[in-house]
């Protein structure tokens, strides 16, 4: 049985912790967190997560740039990416989707239902392994 691996990318340590606990409510989730886009590119290529939760506003490399870089690397190109962000105006969401994101979850989020929302974006293949 393979775990559902979730890579969280956010520069705010407090948010990383809250998301970690919230997602940890789902016993099948295995979570790793990165504090920057650059770290995320390396971890994603090595660890092959089932899905990536990506913040938008990060110093040095922001979320959209990180997504483009993930898509350009064959080892990470097919990993689903969902933005977890406070920037969810219609035009912003449109931009994320056009860059190849699977969806957007808005901050602040409901910690008790976050795991279920993330599950909705998991590709059927990862669920199949997990069951």
């Amino acid at each position: 049985m393979t775990d559902i691996r979730i890579l969280l990318v956010d520069d705010e340590p407090d948010i990383r912790e809250v998301v970690d606990v919230s997602l940890g409510l789902d016993p099948e989730f295995k979570i790793r967190a990165c504090a920057s886009g650059a770290d995320a590119l390396v971890t994603a290529a090595e660890w092959s997560p089932s899905i990536i939760l990506l913040d938008v506003m990060m110093p040095l490399m922001d979320g959209p740039t990180t997504l483009v870089n993930l898509r350009n690397n064959p080892r990470t190109a097919d990993i689903p990416v969902v933005f977890l962000t406070a920037r969810t105006q219609a035009d912003e969401v449109e931009q994320y989707i056009s860059l190849g994101a699977q969806g957007v979850l808005s901050k602040p989020f409901d910690p008790m239902t976050l795991a279920a929302s993330v599950r909705d974006y998991l590709p059927p293949s990862s669920l199949h392994h997990a069951v």
């Binding site: 705010e12 407090d14 948010i15 809250v18 998301v19 606990v21 919230s22 409510l25 506003m57 406070a86 920037r87 105006q89 219609a90 035009d91 901050k107 602040p108 989020f109 409901d110 910690p111 008790m112």
Partner: protein
């Protein structure tokens, strides 16, 4: 941070004497490090602004190519981020006020102000503009910056409340519940502030579609079920299975309206009472009412109820967890939906809020301009805001145009195929796509390759920056509200230059079937009387007239010599009437067909034939 030094002024002024005078005065007062460039018309100013760095614009709005508020709008549209000061002879307080609303930072009267005053006014204007920009950026940054810590706070509190860290003693849980609900209120407040700021700045894009109101109400009730239970209030939708009530709205925004009204009604209802929502379909509108059994709205508060941060009893309302922005947002949204919102005291206590929105069918029926003058050139306006569209139609009607509406890209393409339009006006933001994509698709249709297309938008710049834009031969990019003079000048010009145009047919009859059939061949103007036909001939050119002489009521022999185009050339006529045979000898009558013996098909064949031979004739002459 202090204000920036003004290094370059663009003076837009067509009076050379005033330009010289200003230059001399500036030099005398030692404004040597300020460079002043002057241009004498708006188009030169627009070119200059594209190519040069300018710190501030000084504008006399009486220019050869732009006047008054239109000139101010154009200057502001050309450089929305630059401070703009008006310098004019027109000492009119109401004009000055409108100028400031259109984006000017100051309004100075020539002769009333000396050069030191002008220099000071320019500095202050630059500073005001800088602060305004900072405010806009501030609001959007703050809303994001506030949400980041709020995410950690509401997230942590939510986890504790959900016992994710184990259960806790009751007194601790009570205090945490207070912290949790207030953190959520803070989130709502931040969302509402950002919403209202965006709406006031006109930056919210509404995606209009056909919306059935009752399912949306049911959705709002469902979403507020827990909230209603907290207050011990029941919510009921009256006549839940009534006749379909479809409106034209943005479903997300309409849901926000219903939710805000519903949560208000719940908050102010005493426990064990009902909130009743009803949806009624009228002739042109759908009326949604939300009735509560609360204490009612105090008399002195009634005029303020839709104001921002207005709460009747601030203390009580705060206890209810409101932001004071809910009804203000409702009002802003309903205005944008071309609807009305209001309230009345309910009989027996409580309040009834009502929202009235245009029916889908009614809005759809407005799309075709049925009241235009006969012979008016028909335009297609692709615009999703009904009020804006109706205003522009009324303005264009006064200068002789008929204006049909398309509310979406799909709508526009469907209309463009069935009717041929003289010109197309396109808004950049449409619910199902952007205006530039629409223009790309229109240009791909052979009959719209050369049709004049003009962009009319609240934000024409965003379309102009589109890399495809330069290839689309858009005649102009106009800002809203539209400078009508400029629009009309553009619309009138290109008619004669249109190559490959469709033939124009003047149809003098009352028969709709004939009109429909003719519209497949060319652009048809249908008139009912000979007088209207003569007016139409003066207003525009036609290639052919199709005429039912029975309408002339005995005046037919007098009419025929009148059928000349504006250059005096005779127009071929196809007479379509039972009397046809008797007129066939007249040289101008190309074909006379007896209505009773002729099918529409053979009439159309004759019309095609005459048009073809006329075009051949013209070629021979050339």
């Amino acid at each position: 941070m202090s204000a920036k030094v003004i290094k370059s002024i663009l003076l837009i002024e067509d009076n050379p004497g005033d330009v010289r005078l200003l230059r001399e005065m500036f030099d005398e007062h030692g404004a040597h490090d300020t460079e002043m460039t002057s241009v004498d018309c708006m188009s030169a100013a627009e070119r200059h602004l594209l190519e040069h760095v300018v710190d501030i614009i000084l504008l006399d709005p009486g220019l050869p190519d732009a006047q008054g508020l239109g000139a101010i709008r154009r200057a502001h549209a050309a450089a929305p981020r630059l401070p703009l000061v008006v310098l004019t002879c027109l000492d009119d307080e109401s004009v000055a006020e409108q100028a400031l609303q259109e984006g000017a930072q100051d309004y100075l009267i020539k002769g009333q102000i000396e050069v030191r005053g002008i220099l000071r006014a320019l500095r202050y204007a630059a500073e005001r503009k800088r602060l305004e920009r900072l405010k806009d950026e501030f609001v959007s940054t703050v809303s994001h910056e506030l949400r980041t810590p709020l995410t950690s706070i509401t997230g942590s509190l939510g986890l504790l409340m959900g016992n994710a860290a184990g259960s806790m003693p009751a007194p601790m849980a009570r205090l945490l519940a207070i912290a949790h609900s207030n953190s959520q209120r803070l989130v709502r407040l931040v969302n509402d502030i950002l919403d209202i700021e965006k709406m006031e700045a006109g930056r919210v894009v509404f995606n209009f579609s056909r919306v059935e109101v009752r399912p949306l109400v049911a959705q709002a009730i469902e979403a507020n079920r827990g909230f209603a239970e907290d207050y011990g209030v029941q919510v009921r939708l009256e006549d839940a299975h009534g006749a379909a009530a479809d409106v034209r709205a943005d479903p997300d925004r309409l849901l926000q309206v219903i939710t805000n009204l519903l949560s208000n009604a719940i908050k102010f209802s005493p426990a064990n009472h009902e909130v009743i929502i009803a949806v009624e379909k009228g002739a042109d509108t759908v009326r949604l009412t939300v009735r509560d059994h609360g204490p009612g709205i105090p008399l002195d508060f009634k005029p303020l109820i839709f104001e921002k941060f207005a709460q009747a009893d601030a203390g009580a309302a705060r206890q209810k967890g409101g932001t004071g922005l809910g009804l203000s947002i409702v009002k802003q949204i309903v205005d944008r939906l071309s609807g009305e919102v209001g309230f009345t005291d309910a009989p027996g206590g409580g309040t009834i809020f009502h929202v009235q929105l245009p029916c889908w069918d009614h809005v759809a029926s407005l799309a075709v301009d049925r009241d235009a003058k006969p012979g008016a050139a028909r335009l297609l306006l692709c615009e999703d805001d009904l009020d804006t569209a109706l205003t522009l139609r009324a303005q264009l009607r006064q200068v002789g145009f008929a204006t049909d509406f398309a509310y979406s890209v799909g709508d526009a393409l469907a209309r463009a195929v069935t009717t041929h339009y003289h010109a197309v006006l396109v808004d950049i933001h449409l619910p199902d796509g952007d205006g530039v994509s629409l223009i790309v698709r229109l240009r791909a249709l052979p009959q719209y390759r050369d049709t004049p297309i003009i962009v009319v938008s609240g934000d024409p710049g965003s379309g102009r920056d589109d890399p495809r834009a330069s290839q689309l031969s858009v005649l102009d990019w106009l800002n809203k509200p539209v400078d009508l003079d400029r629009l009309v000048r553009i619309l009138v010009k290109p008619t004669a230059q249109q190559a490959n145009r469709r033939p124009r047919i003047l149809h003098v009859d009352e028969d709709n079937a004939v009109a429909r059939a003719l519209s497949e061949i060319g652009d048809v103007v249908t008139v009912n009387t000979i007088e209207e036909a003569q007016r139409a001939l003066k207003a525009s050119d036609f290639d052919l007239a199709v005429l039912d002489v029975a309408l002339a009521k005995g005046a037919d022999p007098d009419l025929l010599p009148e059928l000349r185009d504006r250059n005096g050339n005779v127009i071929p006529v196809v007479v379509f009437s039972a009397k046809g045979a008797s007129l066939a000898s007249d040289a101008q009558v190309s074909a006379a067909l007896a209505e009773s013996h002729t099918s529409i098909d053979s009439l159309m064949a004759t019309v095609r034939d005459r048009l073809a031979s006329r075009i051949t004739n013209i070629r021979e002459v050339v």
